[in-house]
Point group: C2
Chain length 367, copies 2
Amino acid sequence: MIYLDNAATGGFKPYAVRSAVNAAMKVCANPGRSGHRLSLAAAEHVLSCRNLLSDVFGGYGFERCVFTKSCTEALNIAILGVLEEGDHVVATALEHNSVLRPLQYLAEKGVITYDIAPLKDGILEPETIAACVKHKTRLVCVTAASNVTGTSCDLKKLKKLLPEHVLLLVDGAQGAGHIPISMRDMGIDMLALAGHKGLHAIQIGALLFSQRVDPRPLLFGGTGSESMNLSQPSFYPDRLESGTLSYPAVCSLFEGLLIVKSTKKTETYALTKALSEAVKGLPSYEIFSPPNACGVFSFRHKSMPSEELAAALSEKFDIAVRGGLHCAPLAHEALGTSPDGLVRASFSVFQGMREANALFHALRALS
Amino acid sequence: MIYLDNAATGGFKPYAVRSAVNAAMKVCANPGRSGHRLSLAAAEHVLSCRNLLSDVFGGYGFERCVFTKSCTEALNIAILGVLEEGDHVVATALEHNSVLRPLQYLAEKGVITYDIAPLKDGILEPETIAACVKHKTRLVCVTAASNVTGTSCDLKKLKKLLPEHVLLLVDGAQGAGHIPISMRDMGIDMLALAGHKGLHAIQIGALLFSQRVDPRPLLFGGTGSESMNLSQPSFYPDRLESGTLSYPAVCSLFEGLLIVKSTKKTETYALTKALSEAVKGLPSYEIFSPPNACGVFSFRHKSMPSEELAAALSEKFDIAVRGGLHCAPLAHEALGTSPDGLVRASFSVFQGMREANALFHALRALS
């Protein structure tokens, strides 16, 4: 199989990642709950992973880095755990349902209002987002890279256009590991991450946040700290981390981050550029993603539904891609590809022209 | 090392479990998000795991079985996602902070009130719990087995004493895999489970629930279903499962459950009984757990703090146990062991007299 569904879940887990999971399954102590040497060693490694995350993403130290089960949970904490009655939010047309659905939930309850910054000719501009900001705007949510187009806007420029009191939440699910993200350089207040895509880990998420924001917990429970206290501890990371962490997942993320740190040059931009140029020569197809470092290549066949094309690629060519709406309904509305959606091929940093060629030849055969 | 901290995290992961995680790391497709064969195969296996969970715990089918990151998340859904303004709750003195802290949070917000059913001579009686039920009581929360004493009350008897409209939530974190739990036989409405203890898996949780209850989601996001809908889907399991599931964790749980199903007889009860009898001969120690199938053996030294004794066992004898309060403050208050707590040795079903003897000899040397 040629696996081009890396934007859903990274298909190839490097040896160091798999090996770390195996080692963690042999150790299997509960980090930070007990005082014996295995538990202490696990707790120390968890701390190292927080520090590494903060280092890789220009964060605000280990206390401001919490592990979650997924980027979705991280985004929920950043939205449901931060917004207050009467707040206004600006999100963009490129956002995933993991941002839109928490916002919609709060809006339906009458807690917040929100506006969606539109695309202009398929492009998200910082100025368009900033123009949606109102007096009551507390939060701007923007993806580091759309899971449909592989692109977003210039985050640093966006930050400069926002009033000082507005918090900037960045959804790093797709971008992290592909494009440079630094919270300090870009003025990001909250960064939500998915471990299982560009960070090469198994399923885990993280929320990094600055001292400008104090997220409230969504879940309550044992933290291994202040056990006599029936209320949640007030300090981070414990406040947001109830229940035993997945030590194998943390270990996998640590190794994945080391690989991200040492990977200097990738082919993903070149691949999507080459594919764009080649597929432009096939008149049955329309392309909706510009060349991008995320390795996302989205297209449709002028006379074949996206799910049907995706199924044909799987069945006839054993190429795994994803059709449909990719949990990003407003992006497809903005691109004019709703409700049928697009086919998305997504490359990892470990792939090259061999995979791109295979996709091109399959598309030519199906055109 | 002799690992006797299995009530924190099961120390030994069977070959089939580790092997399943490895296979999942090689496949690495996103279950249920795409239409290619890897994604479809993963989705099918996730469904099998739901069915197996429902089978093992006498549940209500795959739709009423949701995966969570932990038993803590499952308990939070069962409490925060079910209770409504004005409800009264009864919990017990044996409950973990993963039950107590969500209740305390709702109580501090003025949403609910709750009472704690006390122990009588260290024992939890169904009659004592039922006596706390009021007109407005909506939920009774009780552990299947305390993480401090290894015991609880007769759940079937408790259910018979409760009014029809009262929901019964059982915390299966410690009990599952050690003692038989059947939702249908025992009249349990919601059962929260931890994968990483008696179920032999890596970190994952689950909430099983009957048709009598419709938990609201705590997290919102992509479900791979109804992508055009900005609101959360209304059907289960999708309604409670936003974000990509951890496929390696689900696979590990599947294998762990098969082992639980095929394990007919274990030594854990005999071990704690033998230890109790032997340690009773050492006058420096007091024992606080009755013999139990959970394999929990809790004790203290009359003149040494619990954390100090735990550290001595680790440093001098390389025996891993857990001192302190075990995130169950009311249990220790009820037992009169607060604030210093107890030392808890906890055995897995894979352990036997060798480990129990090692602990006894160490305790004798330290007495």
